[in-house]
Amino acid sequence: MYRYDTYDQAMVDARVEEFRDQVRRRLEGHITEDQFKPLRLMNGLYLQLHAYMLRVAVPYGTLSSAQMRMLGDIADKYDRGYGHFTTRQNIQYNWIKLEDAPDILADLAKVEMHAIQTSGNCIRNTTSDQYAGAAADEVVDPRPYAELIRQWSTFHPEFSFLPRKFKMAVIASDTDRAAMKLHDIGIQIVRNEAGELGAAFYVGGGMGRTPMIAPCINPFVPLDQMITYSEAALRVYNRHGRRDNKYKARIKILVHELGKDEYTRQVEAEFQHLLGQNIEPPLAELERIKAQFADPPFEKIGTVPTFEIDRSDPDFALWVDNNCLAHKQSGYIAATISLKPIGGIPGDASGEQIRLMADLARDYSFDECRVTHAQNIVLPHVRKDQLYALWQQLDAAGLGTPNLDLVGDIIACPGLDYCSLANARSIPVAQKIGQRLAAKQQEIGELKLKISGCINACGHHHAGHIGILGVDKKGTENYQLLLGGCEGADTSLGQITGPGFDEDGIVDAVEKATQFYLAQRGEGERFLDTYRRVGMPAFKEAIYG
């Protein structure tokens, strides 16, 4: 994985000291909150319902065990013993003291981490496939290209004050595991018929109050022009984005209002202009980055006793079936650690659990783990014959829940329990649904349920097979139900079923939807397949009738 060079480290260290001075001046009264707020936000420090919240960037979700261990230590040393993994593959701490923030950033810098650009109208943390470098179906590891974007976008002077925040994702397989088409820019690295690698650009997607699926504006940009093309796409947005109206300021609105063809025309014109300026990073830099993402030293079959999985323990076999993905390297597997125990808080992990996962990454996965946008943790390279020993340790720590992509694997934003923007609580709804359907989730099969506590859609409710949106209805919490959303190659946006529900009512409604699905499903159909075949009216009748 990528390691800082002296330039990276000096930049992050300098930023820590700059922020330390800003905090000192704020505490001493030399600057007002209005002056300080944009400065703290540039360093990921928000003021939420109960305290300051620090959002730490995890570039494309990849962490070394040392970095993961530090995240656990920070939870215990500066917070209240836990952290919350987010849908942007980051981690948030909910109980931070302002006076501690510079020390936390200094601790993060020791393990090559920071909180820069985790807030504000800039290019945020670039996300990627959590199985990058491990998945059997990728054309190439997408992370070197995500890292190149990170370096290009960090402190980019032209894009520090965009009309609105900007999110990018990079994948390299047809199976989109990063909700790529629901980003401001989604890039899929593809191989053309000549065997050359290129970047397909999808621009203008997003969730929030106006969800849109990004159209493809260029199916093949040569990879040695990817940054130049990204710059062109950003420049057109920076020039014409709606700075007059916060709610219409995202690039999706610009692409929609200009139309895909006109936006693309302007990007292509800007691209031609930029090509002459030679702004693409030198190939040597990309090669330097790529070398740091070389495969770990996988062992070959025959050099170890066995690579077969002993499935004699039924609980282990269930976990393998649910939580593991085929690996590109024979004899290995990618294992997902669910942070969704039944009745638990989605995405939360204690400092002790985080440190355990760091140790397991060191011992079983070549020192590496990943944060997923579904708020779970992946150990990407586990030898099959060591999987049982790994699972036993996970299970003993409450981390062995076998529910990946099942109805209990709920994405939920912090909601009104923590977030100052939220209108309703998300977590209690997730807990109740998880408990209500726990016994049925294996029978139900794949069902992605996503909950947001407000229209900003941090819980990705538009992309849930079942989505739930919490709203404020005359001072009380109310929940809208959506069906039919999906991320991935067949991305679709969920549709609202009808009138909303109270907290208990939404749990009942979800159960009715799953019961109707079980009664209607055809051979091999997932919930989403049945919904698409049967349609909204029949589901609506089952839920409200």
Binding site: R26, L27, G29, E33, L47, L49, H50, A51, Y52, R80, N94, W95, I96, K97, L98, E99, I345, L416, D417, Y418, S420, A422, R425, I427, P428, Q431, G475, T476, E477
Partner: protein, 98 residues
């Protein structure tokens, strides 16, 4: 009644204006009547509170209950982590929020 709330500048903790200083406990909050703006300006300038604002609340059996659920959650703590609220030993505390 109209009460004042904000966050402590250093710790970020939720605080309530008790007529003299800022308290961690909403039951200490007092009705500020028409003086909200004056108090807020003075207290924020002195850095005794951060991001403060006035809200509506009602006196309820000796307690003070903010009108909006968001401020009731601020007053108690996250409903999903009773151990981190101001009343960790009271299993019924969450009912006050809802």
């Amino acid at each position: 009644m109209k009460i004042l709330t904000g966050n402590d500048l250093k710790s970020g903790a939720v605080t309530w204006w008790d007529g003299v200083q800022w308290s961690l406990h909403v039951e200490d909050a007092v009705d500020v009547g028409d003086h909200a703006d004056t108090i807020l300006a003075r207290e924020q300038a002195a850095r005794r509170v951060n991001a403060a604002y006035a809200i509506e609340a009602v006196k309820d059996e000796g307690s003070v209950r903010p009108a909006h659920i968001k401020d009731r959650i601020r007053a108690l703590g996250p409903t999903v982590r009773p151990d981190l609220t101001l009343k960790p030993a009271d299993p019924e505390a969450g009912n006050w929020v809802i």
